[in-house]
Amino acid sequence: MYEGIIQDLIDEFGRLPGIGPKSAQRITFHIVQSQSADVTRLAELLATVRERVRFCTQCGNVSEQELCSICRDARRDAGLICVVEEPKDVVAIERTRQFRGLYHVLGGAISPIDGVGPDDLNITQLMRRLADTEVREVILATDPNLEGEATATYLTRLLKTLEVPVSRLASGLPVGGDLEFADEITLGRAFEGRLTVS
């Protein structure tokens, strides 16, 4: 147990997700021993990030302006909307350079046991957006886990009323793995979604 401000800083870092007491202590002493300019820059960033970063009013992605850079980009195909759970999923899909449409960030997945229901996500905003704009296809790219699948099921049922074509990202065998280690659900999905090659 340290005294005063050192311990306060360790306690604050220890409250962050994924940071245990040892990591908090290591980060604190790294800061104590760092150049003053580096620490000042970090402190300024921490102070301004909460003020400047907000959510895009159209898609729910993080942004420093009313609309995020993707929604502002006129070259993107506004007829395609890819629905994801979190802003980090947008970054993951952007890395593929395969998708040129727009996104809609739900802000999580439906998980009743954690108290997260459809009303806690940006689903109403999605429905309003689809009703107001002409969309050719909605791509559901929620996580391929149980909560993500259930959220996709819920959205599919909801989107039927709008008569918009809805697709779901394919799931199956990961590249670089061995077939024998695939679990039953993944292998079953791979069979369901198999491609004709000749």
């Binding site: 439906i110 149980l146 679990d183 993944t186």
Partner: protein, 245 residues
Amino acid sequence: MPLYRDEAVVLRTHKLGESDRIVTMLSRDRGQIRAVAKGVRRTASKFGARLEPFMVADIQFFEGRTLDTITQAETLGAYGGNIAADFDRYAVANVMVETAERLTTEDEPARQQYLLLVGALRSLARGEHPPGLTRDSYLLRALSLAGWAPNFSECVRCGGELPAAHGGGTALVVQLGGTVCDACAPPGSPRMSAETIALLGTLLAGEWGRAKAHGEGTRAQARGFVSAYTQWHIERGIRSLRYGH
């Protein structure tokens, strides 16, 4: 004994660090187990979907000082996929696993609770019965196994026979654990129709043919009682009960 093995049904998961999860399970022989599944969130994880909620698996654990670690898992019942493909089933399965989590503890074997939950999830995944009826039957039977069996066939206070329900219905009191005759019923007791009382009895006994014959109005009344009865005994709200119907 650093390594041990047990069958378990996954109740819930929590994210841990970059790619791990803490998995809470109800096991066949050891009650509730909380263990770390390393790397399970990576797309190429060797566990794949085996440790998703509602899955039943044969699992090998490595004992740790605070949390055990899952080293191997083989699927015994892949119910998650079918359950997640239907939102009503998903909502019901959440209620069931949340209740099982509250009714069981670590280091206290609960084999009957395990078998009941696995049976209910299997039935739900196969779509054998309407999801709402499966939930209410599971809740009544899980509470019975926990020592809170309701009684719908006689007065829970005096043990006397219930008179045939008159126009106002039969008194059904959550706090007393079931039906109460007119002489014993506290003033202002809620009353249910004879059909609702009959449905609750069939759900408790698992007589599905008779249970399914009841209409939506009767099912809704029974659902209200079962929800209140469950939360009264668990002494906390079941969050999942807010979703689905």
